[in-house]
Symmetry: C2
Subunit: 174 residues, 2 copies
């Protein structure tokens, strides 16, 4: 049962096309022999993450954002209009070792966020979205959601099952 045809999709928001390309892991990394299913699953996760990131980055580029900058903006939105310090942003990042101060630097230059000294702790700096930041985030999120809907056609039940298995892989008791 085909769930998505390879081909191009049109993103109304940015008036651009994206090309969807469909490949099995074996084709994608030109390998057929895996130590076992678990080893194959690890490579499959790494490849799928790269694939997701690449597709999303293409959309975000239209808005002058990188994947990590977008992640920071979304975290700030989650608590808006509250101001968040660097460590509160860091601990919510998907990739924990991201260098949040420098990502904020670039967002400040683009005037998408404002940085200020914390009134309660002089070591901390706090950051909030600007109006421009809110606008760019809203528009880019719309395109990202559209991309996801077009790109990933998966039953809700399957996605649930996938979440269970990923938690299980990481050893979480679910």
């Amino acid at each position: 049962m085909p769930i998505l045809k390879a081909g191009k999709i049109y993103l109304e928001n940015t008036c651009t096309y994206m090309y969807i390309c469909i490949v099995k892991l074996e084709q994608a990394i030109q390998s057929t022999k895996f130590k076992n299913e678990m080893h194959k699953a690890s490579l499959n996760i790494l490849y799928t993450a790269w694939w997701l990131k690449t597709q999303m980055s293409k959309v975000l580029k239209e808005f002058g954002l990188t994947h990590e900058q977008y992640n920071v903006l979304r975290i700030l939105k989650g608590k808006y209009p509250e101001q968040l310090c660097v460590k509160d942003i860091s601990c919510r990042m998907i990739e924990k070792s991201s260098n949040v101060p420098r990502i904020i630097d670039r967002l400040v230059i683009k005037k998408l966020v404002k940085r200020a000294d914390s009134p309660t702790d002089k070591r901390e700096t706090v950051t909030t979205l600007t109006q421009a930041g809110l606008a760019v985030l809203a528009a880019s999120t719309e395109s990202i959601n559209q991309l996801m809907d077009e790109m990933v056609k998966m039953e809700n039940k399957e996605a649930e099952q996938l979440n269970v298995l990923l938690e299980r892989l990481r050893g979480t008791e679910v």
Copy 2:
């Protein structure tokens, strides 16, 4: 049913300990509201990939290797003693946009691979593992396999199911 206790594991190969830490996605990225299960699954994949890479990188560091350098060594091993040109390595990489010439540069400096001009096409350069490269790869692979066995305790059937769902997410007809 607990499948893995959080705690430290001992890697005999490098005589080092690694700490295993178990967290659910909601804890890991401090978020409980997701647009839908599919959106949650995407974040879960990105987070799990980062988690896998981080754990593996800690082991590889003992051998002075990065995750990408290790990937190139494994690709070369797959065809050893055949010499591979840059594009043949690139198309087998998990992350396709990796800059293979520069990764090879660093492996040449470490004397883990040899680079030569291709006899058939003057544009190409071909690369093979050195004896040192083979040795480092064998030792590091042993540690990586040990890590995987300790870290990820998953039934074969579950891993199979995970592979099916990841292919389905990417739209591959399986």
